[in-house]
Symmetry: C2
């Protein structure tokens, strides 16, 4: 069983973008606001958008199950007010639920949350509860910078976030730290902002983690994209924590913080698996995501991360953890949902 | 000959901080402004601040020459007006020049530039010219985000920067992409902002590099801290460039962009030297810098990067490039200054 903990519905039918355009148009001209959250997308349209992409790649690459969330760059928490965010998250999450309904053995949902820069977290909490209790989702994406590259908000260890964390712990749902698109011209979305978001959040967990994980011992994070710059600079982070008398990172963070394998070349994954304990690594590909192309030398997709991992000659016990059992540990609801759906 | 291309004067006598406090006090109360740029620091004070730190470490670690610049986190381009920046850069650079004067065989200067967020680059250009022509400096630190973590400025490929680049090319001086301290609570200075700055600038060079390096074929950059997240995510960057029809990174950037070795563990440097062509790697330690402590397992300093490199069994020809000849290539003035000072 190979579980990919990080996939996005980047191939949704065009009706989703039409809805979004109308929704954004409605911000300045209320007459353009969509009259309904029903996008009029048929099951056949959804199948067409999945069969030739995520499902095809699952089969070709030999993976079994994807924890599937809306397009991350599409969340755009910096655009529109709380109502816009709520409608947008609901529409995107409902579409994920329909994919999971059509392919119950291949996709399990993770939520987009209707965050607003500096705003009340109550709508995000309500949507998280709805997606978990009503749609069967097992995870969520938490944007550490809902201002879209302006970084006007509070660090993730600030008490601002605590109401959301209480609900995540109550529901037994981990968070993937995942920024959305950048509205800052300095930051390329997938090449700079994504990676910076990961690095930034991890450093916040170092400086504020003692208190945060004392307050929420069960709070669990996945830092995606291989943890941003963190594993490559593990010595720097270890040294910074020791210099600040915060102890070893393993004790400070690694009961609560995990890394995915969205690193698109073998030497990167070799470093990740060498530096980070196997218990803290979850297989993921981010497909269909940041890099869509094919490697000119190998003829393989850049985001076919399983191929790189297969080259590393990892011990079977380690592979089992990375590909399967760590995900079952980090997503406590996953095993139950898989059982309900008859997934081995 | 081992040349460390990235060292900072983080141990300057306390008179420098006193001056700075008075200068900052002078922003709100002009009567507190320092009356002179003469800090009253004696040669003996400078010797005491160097002998037990950078010079001692050079000897202990077996390195020979450091390209030495003012404390990067001290630049703080986001604080004060153009005059404050000019005075501050001049004072800091003059102090570097005195260190180089006292230890001509051990230290060669690189400049702090008086940048102001969104401001005229003329003062930075004038100070660069002064430090190169009058003080014998061979490099400079260019802050890609003079707003200190607010990222309010233009990408480094924007024409805003062109007057500075013209002068850098004219003087044959490379730039090290180096942010200063962060005034954004989301970004830890050395754990997030530094690394993000490197990653961000590199991605800017990808998206805007074709034009930039066509306009300035001789413009040369060092991306410090091992290139931020870049080598770890080399597959991602390569894929993003290919997806955007920008070609291979080697062709697009590696005639103009170099990486230093400020990565504080062996697996990180193993990855760097495996992924990045040897011709594009310059030895550096950042000492005395971000991480000051000693590794608890080995008893070695975290920032003793030579020890990690020594473990990699690099070919002698590659070591020669990384430790010496690449620096002579990237800093075209270095060879001449070394000859003048009788450095072998």
């Amino acid at each position: 069983m190979i579980i990919d903990c990080h996939g996005h519905y980047t191939t949704a039918p065009k009706e989703l973008l039409t809805f979004r355009d109308q929704q954004l148009a409605g911000i300045t001209d209320k007459s353009r606001k969509p009259s309904s959250l029903d996008l009029g997308i048929t099951d056949d349209q959804i199948r067409a958008s999945i069969d030739n992409y995520q499902l095809k790649f699952q089969k070709e690459r030999g993976t079994d199950l994807t924890i599937f969330s809306p397009r991350a760059a599409g969340m755009a928490h910096h655009i529109g007010d709380a109502q816009v965010q709520q409608d947008w998250a609901r529409v995107c999450n409902d579409l994920i639920a329909r994919v999971c309904g059509l392919y119950p053995k291949n996709f399990i949902g993770a939520a987009q949350l209707p965050q607003v820069p500096g705003g009340d977290l109550a709508p995000a909490i309500a949507e998280l509860e709805r997606t978990v209790k009503e749609l069967g989702f097992v995870g969520c994406n938490v944007n550490p910078d809902p201002s879209g590259g302006m970084w006007t908000g509070k660090p993730m260890t600030d008490r601002y976030w605590y109401p959301l964390y209480e609900k995540m712990v109550e529901l037994k749902v981990p968070g993937m730290v995942h920024v959305s698109n950048s509205c800052n011209a300095c930051f390329h979305t997938t090449g700079a902002h994504y990676i910076n978001g990961d690095t930034t959040a991890f450093m916040q967990f170092i400086t504020g983690g003692q208190q945060l994980f004392k307050d929420f011992p069960e709070l669990t994070w996945i830092v995606p994209h291989g943890g941003g710059a963190v594993p490559y600079h593990w010595g720097r982070y270890r040294g910074l924590a020791l210099d600040a008398k915060l102890g070893e990172l393993t004790e400070l963070l690694l009961k609560n913080v995990y890394f995915d394998t969205c690193v698109y070349h073998t030497p990167g994954l070799e470093l990740l698996t060498k530096v980070i304990p196997t218990d803290n690594i979850l297989f993921a590909s981010e497909m269909v995501g940041a890099v869509k192309g094919i490697h000119p030398n190998t003829g393989n997709y850049f985001d076919d991360t399983k191929k790189y991992l297969d080259q590393l000659n990892l011990a079977e016990a380690d592979k089992k953890k990375i590909f399967e059992t760590n995900a079952l540990k980090v997503f406590p609801l996953l095993g139950k949902v898989m059982k309900e759906r008859g997934i081995a």
